[in-house]
Each structure stands twice: as C-alpha cells, then as structure tokens.
C-alpha cells in the first residue's frame, strides 16, 4: 500500500500512509487510538475506499471498490468479532457463505457436499495444528482461542495470501494467546503474509518480524523486532523525543 489518503468529512484519517508486507512475513501494525490503524486495514479490506494511493498485491495494482475485490485479491480480514455463527458447527463456519456444492443437484436446490467439506476442514485444521473437541461441535461451545482459530482457518481455507488479524488476542487468556501465536507462525510457514493489529507490545515482539507504527494518520517508522527494542517502538507510538532516533531507521 502506497501513499494511502483517506478523509472523513473534515477529518484526515490517513495522510499518505505506506505499508509493505513481504510474502511469509508477519507485520505488526501499531499506533495509539485514532492513529489510523483501523482505517488503513479497512482500506486494505475494501470496506473503505482510499481517496488517494495505490494498493498492489504481488506487484499487480488492485482496484478496491468493495470487500469482494479484496477477497478476490487474496486479502482476508479477521475482525475482532470473528463473524462466526454460534449456532453452527465448526465445518459450517469454516465454509460459511462458500459452501461446497454436491454434484448431485435437484431441479431447484443446490445440495451441500457435507463429506467433502468435513474432509477438507479436517485437513486444513490439522495443517494449522488446531485441536478441537469435534468438527461437529457448535462454535458456541468452543473457547476464545479455538474460535479465533476457526476464523483464521476460514481465511486460510479460502486461499488467501494476506491475512489481516484485528487484535486477535485482546480477549484471550495466556494459553489461548500462545495458541494464536502458534497459528500465526504456521501461516508464515505456509508463505502467507500476516498483518497483525495490536496494542500489546509483548504480542508484537513475540510473533512479528517487523512493526509499522502509525501516528496521527501518518507513518512513524518501521522497526525490526530482532534488532530494535520495544522502547523504540513505544517512543514512536507516543511521539516522544526518541522518535528522532527512530526516524534514522526508516
């Protein structure tokens, strides 16, 4: 994403923001409230349309006119509410809205290919090393981490190359958080790029490769988690004096 600009009325939410993610890279996106994280991510998801700027996937410019364009370009966003149907089982949620169709079809009805969906779901969840009590378990009965895993699994199953996770561990306990970290690393191993929005510096330095900091709708530095310190990132977020030191790293 290059020089993305977006205004809502008089408010300039994004003032020319860049965001680059390599294949198989985990990029954290951090910033204070109102820094423009959500707006940027929603632009990437096709929910907001940028006023200016370009979005390229694999070097090909993508015109984002709606969420369907993002999906077609291989960008899946897992929002905080996860968009799961609590009354349906795991398989039904993984395939929600894109159910596989049985070859046996009636004159009017399109039948579900239940076996094939169960089979594929088992495979993908095994690959992601997600353990669930049963594929037929109602999602309402699962833990927060398992629910997050299903939402992520859905993005993977649908063949996306960029997965955006919005605060995935915000509501989770220690064990569940570890499970989501593992899941994110598995995505990376599969060559999927991950954009991780987070408020939690521990989160960020635990899993991310690089960190993009936004402040007041503009870039405030890109950091490498293997060489930079959390304090540098925090300084960039708050805009304190240390930002001058951080600027040199861009």
């Amino acid at each position: 994403m290059r020089s993305i600009r977006k205004s809502f009325g008089n408010v300039e939410a994004l003032r020319g923001v860049d965001l680059t993610v390599q294949p198989g890279e985990i990029m954290a996106l951090v910033g204070d409230n109102g820094a423009g994280k959500s707006t940027l991510v929603k632009t990437l998801a096709g929910v907001h349309i940028a006023d200016q700027g370009t979005i390229e996937v694999d070097g090909v410019p993508v015109s984002m006119a709606g969420p369907q364009d993002a999906v077609r370009a291989g960008v899946e966003t897992v929002y905080q509410d996860l968009a799961l149907c609590d009354n349906l089982d795991v398989v039904a949620n993984l395939y929600l809205g894109r159910e596989l169709r049985s070859p046996a079809r009636g004159p009017l009805a399109r039948f579900l290919a239940g076996k094939r969906m169960s089979f594929e779901a088992t495979r993908i969840l095994d690959e992601l090393a997600v353990t669930l009590p049963s594929l037929r378990a109602q999602v309402a009965t699962l833990s927060g981490g398992q629910r997050q895993a299903i939402a992520v699994g859905r993005a993977v199953l649908w063949g996306s190359r960029i997965v955006v996770l919005d605060e995935p561990t915000a509501a989770l306990g220690v064990q569940q958080t570890a499970m989501v970290y593992r899941l994110v690393r598995t995505l990376k191993e599969r060559g999927i790029s991950v954009v991780l929005i987070s408020h939690n510096m521990v989160d960020v330095f635990e899993v991310a490769d690089r960190v993009t900091v936004l402040r007041l709708g503009a870039n405030a530095g890109v950091f490498d988690t293997s060489t930079d310190k959390p304090s540098d990132v925090i300084a960039a977020i708050t805009g304190s004096d240390a930002i001058t030191a951080a600027e040199g790293l861009r």
Binding site: D86, N87, K115, F119
Partner: protein, 394 residues
C-alpha cells in the same frame, strides 16, 4: 442430610444444562398419550387418531412455515389472516366465478406468495421490524377477507368435489400399505447406507446405538401409523400433503446450501452478510414461502369445512402455530429449530385439544392448557441453555 443434598442437585443441573434436542417434545407426547388414554380409552382408538391427523394438518402446515421465519429470528403474525384471505379468494373463484379447482387453488397460493413478497420486501427495504409489518399485514388481510365475504353474508359454501375431496379422501388400503412399507424400508436403508459410506470415507460415525434407534423409529413409526389408520379409513390425503411438505422442508433446511444460509442468518446476520450470503433476498424468499404455505393451509381449512367464512384463519390460528413451533424446540432468537420438532409441536397442541374435547372440557380449558404447555416448554428450554440462545460456554 445437608451435606449430601448439593451433589444430586448439581448432577440434575448439569444433566439439564445441555441441548435437549427433541426429547422434551417426544416425552411430552408420550405423557399426553398415556394420560388421555387412561382418562378415556377412546383417545388412542383408530378413529380418534385418524381424526386427530385431520385436525392437525392445517396447524402443522402453518407451524412448518412460521418455524422458518423464526429460524431467521423474525416473526410472521399474519399467517392466519393470509390463510383466511387466500381461502376466500379460492372460494370466490371456485364457487362464484366457476374457475376449475386447480386454477382457484393455484391463484390462492400465488396470492399468498405475493403477500409474502410485499411483507418481506417491506421488512428488508425499510428495515422495519417484522413484528410490526406482519401485524399491520394481519389487519389489512383480515379486512380484505371481510370485504370479499361480506357480500356473501360472511360465508361461502365450497361445493367443488375436487377441493372438498382433498380433505375427505383416503388412499386405497393396498396403496397405503405399500407407501408405509416403502417409507420404512427407505428409512432403514438410508441409515445403513449412510453408516457404510461414512465409515468407508474414514470419518467418525455416530454411535451404533443412535443408528439402531433411528432404524427402529424409521421402521416403527410408518408401520405403526399405518396399523392405526388401517383400523379406520386408511391414509387420508391430508396426511400425505403434510408429509410431503415436511419432507421437502426437512431436506431443504438440512441438506441444501439455502438451508444452511437460513441458519447462518438466524445465528449471526452480520457474519452472514460479510461472508457474501445474500441476506436480503433470502429473507424475502422465506417470507414468501411462509405466506405460500399459509395459503395452502387456508385451502385445506376451507376444504375440510366445506366452506370459507370471515372466521377462517381467525382467532388463535397464527398464535397456535407460533406456540407449536416453540414447543417443538424452535428458538425465538433465531438460528435454532428443526422441521421434525415443529411438526411434533403441532401434534402436541392438537392432541391436547383433541384429548380435552374428548373429555368434554370446554374451549376455555383447552386454551388455558395450551398456554401453560407453551410456558413450560420455553421455561425448560431456558433452564437447559442457561439463558443463552445457543447454550455453550460464553
């Protein structure tokens, strides 16, 4: 004493705190059957059960329809009025305009679908609550029914032999037996086939006991019903119509993509929308199906009474159907319920009313009892789920 009481109580609580499925309504039906049989041994006679099937048919079709709307988390209060108005249209076309029976029936069902289109379209287009839109609809359709039938002094006799024949004809006995045997063999064969295919594909199969129960029910119910009906006039056409509608809706809700989307919209409409399900058109289609089924119920109601009047579809018709769906395990919050449950719920209401009438109880007792059963069913359901719409941990 005080040290031992908590343990059994918590065990009961944990037993209750799970999805009870169809068990409450099945156990309820057994209690009804045994109780009324003890009070009056005519209750389980072939004659009474055969009549009960006829009495259930109209309510059952309305219940199956309204259950679909409840699955979406919506409601349709107009189904009674729609059945009355469409029956009135059929009556006028058949008895006064001299239309052939099939054309009059088709026109009634088409009117039902159009009414559903109007109501569903209104709800979707203006984001209006379905409770209000269908309440308004109920009043308007009732008014139109009154307008049509007032010149006929409020009542129209149905004389067309085809229409009245629907409600008073029976399958020849050999055909009835053949059908019952085909259904029984088909049900048993299906369970076995599914088990073989599932285990061959390496996927987890259901416990063997559950499949055995399925086979016993799948064979026992059709044969048992046939034995009972054979003691009177055989299989009524009305039963065939109800079974056909039940079968189609059970397949649609359970095995098609459309059906899956109904449950998805009822479970989380925002999630359904975001994953690309065409929520608006789905909701409109469901309202059309419901009103279309209400029209079929209206036609059958007129056929059974040999007439259509200003009272057809009036009174408690719609509310009884909603009560039956809820007794059958349908959630008013949307996303939960089964077709078979709805059918059994309708059977609960009509069997209680039949039983009380058999004991010479007045209508007042029947209405009060229906209300209390509804209350008991909902309370049991709420306790079982810990007051959460889908149960579970959160």
């Amino acid at each position: 004493m005080s040290a031992t009481t908590p343990a059994p109580r918590s065990r009961v609580a944990s037993l209750l705190r799970r999805d009870l499925g169809l068990w409450p309504v099945i156990i309820g039906l057994v209690i009804i059957a045994v109780g009324f049989q003890l009070a009056n041994d005519a209750f389980l006679s072939s004659r009474n059960l055969s009549n009960m099937i006829l009495q259930t048919a109209v309510l059952a079709i309305l219940t199956l329809g309204v259950m679909l709307v409840l699955l979406l988390g919506e409601i349709d209060l107009s189904i009674g009025a729609v059945s009355g108005l469409t029956a009135a249209l059929m009556g006028v076309l058949s008895a006064l305009a001299g239309w052939p029976a099939w054309a009059a029936i088709l026109a009634a069902v088409a009117l039902g679908a159009i009414i559903g289109l109007i109501q569903g379209g209104w709800i979707v287009a203006f984001r209006a609550p379905s409770f209000i839109v269908t309440l308004a609809g109920m009043l308007v359709w009732q008014g139109l029914q009154l307008l049509i039938l007032t010149p006929q002094s409020g009542q129209l006799r149905i004389t067309d032999p085809f229409i009245t024949g629907i409600a008073s004809s029976y399958l020849p006995r050999p055909a009835g037996w053949a059908l019952a045997i085909v259904i029984a063999l088909g049900a048993a064969g299906w369970v076995v086939l599914r088990r073989v295919l599932t285990s061959r594909s390496g996927y987890e199969t259901d416990p063997i006991a559950r499949d055995v129960i399925r086979i016993v029910l799948g064979v026992g119910v059709p044969i048992g019903v046939m034995v009972i009906l054979d003691g009177y006039f055989g299989v009524p056409y009305l039963l065939l119509i109800v079974l056909a509608i039940t079968g189609i809706l059970a397949v649609v809700t359970g095995s098609t993509i459309f059906g899956r989307h109904i449950y998805a919209v009822g479970g989380n409409i925002e999630a359904a929308r975001r994953t690309g399900i065409r929520v608006s058109s789905l909701r409109v289609v469901i309202f059309m199906i419901v009103a279309g089924l209400a029209a079929i119920a209206g036609v059958l109601s007129a056929a059974r009474g040999y007439s259509v009047s200003v009272n057809t579809g009036g009174g408690n018709t719609a509310l009884n159907a909603i009560a039956a769906a809820v007794i059958g395990g349908t959630s008013l919050f949307g996303g939960r319920g089964t077709i078979i449950g709805a059918l059994l719920g309708a059977l609960v209401i009509s069997s209680v009313q039949n039983g009380l009438a058999l004991l010479g109880q007045p209508a007042a007792t029947q209405v009060i009892t229906t209300g209390l059963i509804l209350l008991a069913a909902v309370t049991l359901d709420m306790v079982a789920r810990g007051r959460r719409p889908f149960g579970g941990l959160r």
